[in-house]
Structures are given as structure tokens and as C-alpha cells.
């Protein structure tokens, strides 16, 4: 790597058009940037990111996680009556108080709550809940009102707001495409399934790089003028961003060694990649990773048990890693799903799409415990739980108390914050 983040950022902010240099100089970026930059410029372009910044890791549980099997109201007779096959015995759960306990496989989560490093927020949802996976996921990711279509996400708006000229590495999502949550207007965060797939695959790498770095000058010997459009500059800029991020991330992940045992699969390996990137000192403030397969309409018990096991293994491997790295104080992890599931089990030993569900928050600076009110299992809305905490309250808390960002411009309103993060 020839470049460092500050100069590169400066270079990008100054725009491609300010510098002209031969592409054959190997340290193309550094030299050209140093040639035009003065120390004042460098100082002014420092972004609120970097090795000491606070980090948010979002875990998306896709498909509609059955909250009542994750945080079990073991002391409620209605729970056992409505879920005779898929319910968990009171004796098997990790009791958090005299009403709720954690799924039998979530011992590591219970330990973290015990140690004062995790909290669970009960009954999180929104008014007039939508039971379509896609629509409800869009509502959660955009943090829009349930009857509004938004094309940006709450984290995307955070990036736009916190650092409009920011490096794309400010947000990294593990997965094929960028989730709506990270979609903004000014900043374009990164998304890749595996670091090895986040790269140019063509044969002539050197020439490809030169063709993408060469700045458009409009010079051509042909009769037609080449019109260097804003779009062409934009594409060059993005291409260079992509190339530099790709090299850096691949390098970091290849070199990473960890004593933690991450579970196989996209979720576990994704968490491992995230741990590597945190250790590697990327300026990333938000990481995003998914655990999929929660749409348990039939044969739920075994499938959900496996998912809980995978979640617990991945989560505890990650936090051991963070503690070894001494980065645990810098990281906050938050889980969510597009909806919870129907209170009563269905005829196939599964559950159908529902509404409110718990969210979990992990981190050494989390104020531990069970937060909010558990929804009633008898006062239902069409068989579904009535939410007790609006999900935007949780977002507002994370934005305000963790990411030090203003809530109103990002969420479009004020929401009550929750006591889940220690100052």
C-alpha cells in the first residue's frame, strides 16, 4: 500500500481534476497529493473516523426471528398453552428475571448479561406493523414511517450527516449487495460477501489500474472532442476508491490471525472478517452482517435451535476476539429482525409472520439488563404482540449515545432514548 487514508481522502475531496501526474510513477497518489496539499489542508480534512473511533456492528436476523423463542416468557402459562410443541421448558432457559429467560443455547449471552456487557430490549416494533418480509425489512432499514417509501437507510443518513465527504470504508456490509440501511446520498459504503470476491478479476491488472486511474483531460487526437463529464470523473473516483479499499481489505484479512473459533457459514466467517478489519485499523464506523434462515413456518424447533447455536457461537467468538484485541470498549453490537412471529404455533410446528420482538445490544460499555416492558401474550392484535418500544428509540439511542450523532436529521423526529449505554 502506497497511500494512507488521510492523503487519499484529501485527494478525493480535492477531486481528480486538481492533480496531473504520470501514471507510471508508482507512488502516484502520495506524490501528487503531497505536491498540492499544504498542512492546513490535511488538518482540515481529518474525518471523525479512525483507529480510536467508536464502532457499531449491526447483526440482521433475516426472515423474521421468533423473539418468543429467543427471549422466552417461561413463567407465562399462555406461552406454554399456545406453543405446546415448539415452546421451551422453564427448566431449560437461562432465567434473566422471574418472567423471561434466554433460549437454552444462549448461555454465552446470559454470561455477558451477567458480566454487565449485554442488554435485551423487549417488545420492539412499530405501529400498524407490515407482515411482508420485504416491506417490513425496508421499514426497519430505512427507519421510515410504515406508510412511507424511503430510498435511503438510517445508517446511510448517518454517514451523509456525519461526514458527507467520507471515505467509503466508513461503512462495510458483509453480503452481496449494500443493504438499504447503509444506502445514503453522499457516501457510498462498501459491500462484499467475501473479501476475495471484492476485487477486479480481469487478467491485465496493471493496465486495468492505469486505465482507471488516468485522469480525463479532454485531450484526444481525433476530430471529436472528448468531453470529460462529471460522470466520468465520478466513475474514476469510485474506481480508485474500490481498488484501494480492495487491496487494503484483502491484505488485512489475509494477515489476520485469531485464537477465536468462529462457526462455519456466512455469519460466523463474516464476523471473523469484521474482527480482522477492526484489528486492521480501518476507519470503519459501522459494520453490517446477516444471519439468515429465520422464516420458520414449519418444523421450527430444530431450525431455530440451530440458528441460536450459530448466533451464540459467532457472537462469543467475536467478543473474545475483541477482548484479546483490546477493542471491546470501542464496539457496540446490535441485533434486529424485520418482525417477530405469531404467538400461537401453527399446524406445521412452525410460526407465521408476526410483529414485535426483542433486540439485543452487546459491548463492554453496555448498561446490562432487561429493558422495556414485555408485551402481553393475551392482549393481542390479530394474534400478534403489541409493541412496547418503538425501534426508532433504539436507533436514536445508538445514534446519540454511541455514534455521537444528532437524531432528528437522521430519523426525521425525536425519539425517547433508552438507558442501554454507559457514558
Amino acid at each position: 500500500m502506497h497511500s494512507n487514508m488521510t492523503t487519499r481522502r484529501l485527494f478525493l475531496q480535492k477531486g481528480m481534476t486538481l492533480v496531473a501526474a504520470s501514471a507510471t510513477v508508482p507512488t502516484f497518489l502520495d506524490q501528487t497529493v503531497l505536491a498540492v496539499a499544504n498542512p492546513q489542508d490535511v488538518h482540515n480534512t481529518q474525518q471523525p473516523t479512525g483507529k480510536d473511533g467508536k464502532i457499531l456492528v449491526v447483526v440482521q436476523m433475516s426472515g423474521g426471528n421468533d423473539g418468543l423463542s429467543m427471549l422466552v416468557p417461561f413463567a407465562d402459562d399462555t406461552y406454554h398453552r399456545l406453543r405446546p410443541v415448539i415452546g421451551h421448558d422453564a427448566s431449560t432457559v437461562h432465567k434473566l428475571n422471574d418472567y423471561v429467560g434466554l433460549h437454552p443455547s444462549l448461555g454465552p449471552v446470559a454470561d455477558m448479561i451477567q458480566a454487565g456487557k449485554a442488554a435485551v430490549i423487549q417488545g420492539v416494533g412499530y405501529p400498524n406493523p407490515n407482515r411482508s418480509h420485504f416491506r417490513s425489512m425496508d421499514i426497519w432499514q430505512s427507519a421510515s414511517r410504515e406508510d412511507q417509501i424511503e430510498s435511503t437507510g438510517w445508517l446511510g443518513r448517518f454517514f451523509d450527516n456525519a461526514c458527507p465527504g467520507c471515505d467509503p470504508q466508513v461503512g462495510i456490509s458483509i453480503g452481496q449487495t449494500l443493504p438499504l440501511a447503509m444506502q445514503g446520498e453522499k457516501v457510498m459504503p462498501l459491500a462484499f460477501e467475501r473479501p476475495e470476491a471484492f476485487r477486479y478479476n480481469g487478467p491485465d491488472h496493471d493496465r486495468y489500474e492505469k486505465l482507471n486511474k488516468l485522469r480525463s483531460t479532454g485531450a484526444s487526437s481525433n476530430s471529436h472532442k472528448v468531453s470529460p463529464s462529471g460522470e466520468l470523473d465520478f466513475l474514476h473516483r469510485t474506481a480508485m476508491d474500490a481498488q484501494l479499499s480492495s487491496e487494503k481489505i484483502l491484505d488485512i484479512v489475509r494477515k489476520y490471525q485469531s485464537a477465536s473459533q468462529y462457526p462455519a457459514g456466512e455469519f460466523g466467517q463474516g464476523l471473523r472478517t469484521i474482527a480482522a478489519m477492526i484489528r486492521g485499523g480501518l476507519p470503519t464506523r459501522v459494520y453490517y452482517v446477516s444471519l439468515t434462515g429465520f422464516d420458520t413456518h414449519a418444523g421450527q424447533r430444530q431450525r431455530h435451535d440451530n440458528l441460536m447455536k450459530q448466533f451464540a457461537q459467532g457472537m462469543s467468538a467475536f467478543w473474545k476476539d475483541m477482548e484479546n484485541q483490546k477493542n471491546d470498549e470501542r464496539v457496540l453490537m446490535m441485533t434486529f429482525s424485520e418482525f417477530g412471529r405469531r404467538v400461537a404455533q401453527n399446524a406445521s410446528g412452525g410460526t407465521d409472520h408476526g410483529t414485535a420482538a426483542p433486540m439485543f445490544v452487546f459491548g463492554s460499555r453496555v448498561k446490562s439488563g432487561v429493558v422495556g416492558k414485555h408485551p402481553s401474550l393475551t392482549d393481542l392484535d390479530q394474534g400478534d404482540l403489541r409493541f412496547t418500544t418503538d425501534f426508532r428509540s433504539v436507533y436514536a439511542t445508538v445514534l446519540q449515545t454511541w455514534l455521537d450523532a444528532p437524531v432528528k436529521p437522521i430519523l426525521g423526529g425525536d425519539f425517547k432514548t433508552l438507558p442501554i449505554v454507559r457514558a
Binding site: 430510498s151 449487495t177 471484492f198 477486479y200 478479476n201 472528448v226 468531453s227 465520478f234 474500490a242
Partner: protein, 479 residues
Amino acid sequence: MGVQTTRTMSSTHPSFEAYEPSSQDPFDRVKAAHLLNRAGFGGTEAEVQKVIGLGPKGAVDWLLDFSNASADEQNSADVPDLSPIKGPAGNFRELRKQLQTQTPEQRKQLMKQFQMANREAFMATFAWWMKRMAGGSHPLQEKLTLFWHGHFTTSFREERAALLIWEQNELLRKMAGGNFRKMLHAVSRDPAMLDYLNNNQNRKGHPNENFAREVMELFTLGIGNYSENDIKEGARAFTGWMHDGDQFVFNRRQHDEGMKRFLGKSGNFNGDDVLNIILEKPDCAKFISSELFAWFVRPDPEPAQVDAMAKQLRDGDYELRPVIKTLLTSKAFYSAESIGVQIKSPVQLVAGTIHLLGIEMPPPQAIFNGLQLMGQVPLMPPNVKGWPGGHNWINASTLFARYNSGVRLAQSKLDIAGLSEVNAAPAAVDALVDRLIQRPVEDKKRKELIEGYESKTKTDQSIRAVVQLIVSMPEYQLC
């Protein structure tokens, strides 16, 4: 008649005067390729030469020479190939026939069986449309179908019946270059649309406002040109507009026969009345004009340009062909600010690359996966707003996906007629740039490409090397 002409003339915009080729400003290959890119999915060398020969007006007449008919109506063999699917019917038409002749209960059973095959049928429909876009004989009809698909969106993410998705796609194709008034009425009766926007749940006394909202916000007027009350009253007018399978039904018992006050008018309106009231609003023609301008020319029309287009659209009672013809033959279309400034949509990029390289269609799943990484799977828009487009197509991940997809496509057997006879590297590179980027590139980039050509010893290897570099250039992402 004379008065009418004068009035029309006075409200046209100078940029919509026809572009007339001259010795200073000839109708050359850059302009011909520009037309084929914007009115289709790119032009091969033969097509570029043909268009140059036809001239700017003749070329647009040729492009607009398609019938207002679905693919199925034009050629009954031109339907998605469902034959490999284990299911109740060999193709959509047979299935539709079966659906029509059976009782509701039998139909339900049939649909259930079909669900298993549904996903495969969707893939077949996707592949069929991609093939039409990459190599069909009516590129402008397909380009317009893609435009209307982004406008009147319905997504297979939520509308899970492949049959209805295909039928809507055919409806859009049939009406693509016809009359917007008729299209709006037809789309409002389209089963996929009624289902997607929940009009089946829109009942007397229990209105569902989804369709009424989107028909104004996204299909006709644009946000800010109606009130929340107009949505409520409009929704009442559409009560009872439902579908049974792939047939529109008007459910009289669910229709609200009361008085409605809608966009300043009062009456016992039904859905058609509401659509006609909307179509009378100048904002409607402006909204459609602005979208067409952005689609074909560039994203930022001046208000006066929109007004002129909207006037032509309204004067012609929403006939689309005359407006499209004005646009595609105009000075605005051929001005330097309009050429090479559009970021290709993923569909444009992939269909165009297949077309320009003359390669065989890759397996549907491969195309699907590639497009998904780039952020645009046709028939699966992310939401009812469609794809935002422009800069939104591009981020670090999608850019790699675009480059890598191009590199992969260029590994196929290339059909670049005449090139193997060009031996000198500069001439070969110039020819490839002409055929693929279709605009000149900077000298230093040309030099890199020439070096890339010379780095291989065999001509076909040299050509492939340069093609793979070209599809990995920022310039190739624009048209």
C-alpha cells in the same frame, strides 16, 4: 388548422427543432451509436452503418417501426420457454387457457401445483426478456418496455405469480409506444398491479389507499400535486377493482357508489373517472415528459423543455410516438451535453455487451447473479419507486461487479467481424474503441490499449485482451 399550427409552433422549444446534419456537424458514427444506445441497447458496426445511411429522421422512423402488440401477439412462438419445467402447463398461454376453462376450485389446485414451478417460470421469463433486449429485432420497443417497467413497477419480490409478471410485461410492451391514456387505464386493471398495490383489499367502507396513492405519486402527477384527501377519495373510486387469477373483475358489491370529491371535482366517480381527471391535469403530462427526457436524453431538462414536451403530449391526447420522435430527432438529443453522459443501467450494460460482442446468451442464472450484484434484476425492482438510477448504480462493489461481468462475457467466443484482418495494433484498437465505447478516448488511454494489444502475439488473443480492458474502463460505463 393554420391557427392551431401557429400556436403549437410558438410553444415549442428551440432545442426540440430537428437536428439537421451539416458538414460542420455531420451525422457520424458517434451520433448514430448514440441513437442506438439510447433508443436501444447499443449498435453493432452493421447497425451503426445502417443508421448513418438512413439519416437521423429515417433512423428514428425505422426504430419506431414496431407494432403496438405484445411479443405473443406478434409471434405466438415468442413466449418464455417453460417446457423444461415439471408442471401443469408447457407455456403461459396453455396455462392461461386451462385457468379460463376450470372452476375456481380447480383453478386454485392448479395454481398450487404451479407454485412449485413458479420460480422456474420466473427465471424463464427473465431470460426471455433479457434475450429480447440483447438481440431482439425491435430494440426501441424493448427499451420503452424497460422504461415503463421502471415506471409502473411490479416486483416478483412481492407479486409471486410469474404468469402475472409475464402478462404485465407483455402489456407494457404492447402499449410501450402507443397512448399513455390507454396504458394508464390498462395498467390500472392489470392483475399484477392490482395485487402488488393491494387493490384486492380495497373494499367499500374499508378502503386500501395503496394504489390510489401510488397512481398519483409515481405514475402520473408526482408528489406535491395532490392532497391526502385526494388519496382517500381516489381510493374510494377504485373500490371493487379486483382480479381473479389473471382476469380483471369489477366487484360491484365492494364498490363505493357514494359521492367523491377528487382534485377539485365532485361526483359519483369510479376508477376510470379518477384516471381521466388526473390525465386532464397539466402536471400529469409534465411528469411523464420529464421522465421520458431523463430516460432518453439527460437527467436535467429545463422547465421550458418539459413544458414544450408536455404540450405536444396533451395536444396529441397522450399519443407517445410523436413525442418520442420529436425527442430522438432533436438538437437537444444530439447536443454534446447529451452524448456519453448517461451511466448505463446494469441491464443496459449486460444486454449491450452481449449485443455488441455478438456472443451467445449466457445461462440465465449467471446473468441473474451478475445483475443482482450490480443492483438491477429486471422484474424485481426494489420497491414501487423502481430503480433510482444515475449515480446510484455506482459504488465500489457494483463497479467491480460491472467490470468482472464484462470480463467474463468477453471470455465467450467473440463475433467481431472484420477485425482479424486488421493487423496494425493502432488500427485494431481504434476499431474496437469505435465499436465498444463508440466515442473517442484520450490519447494516453489509447496508448495503454495499444500496448495491451501488443502484449499478445496472436490476433484473437490481442483482441480479447483489449476488449477485456475496454469493458473495465470508466468510459464503457457511460453511453
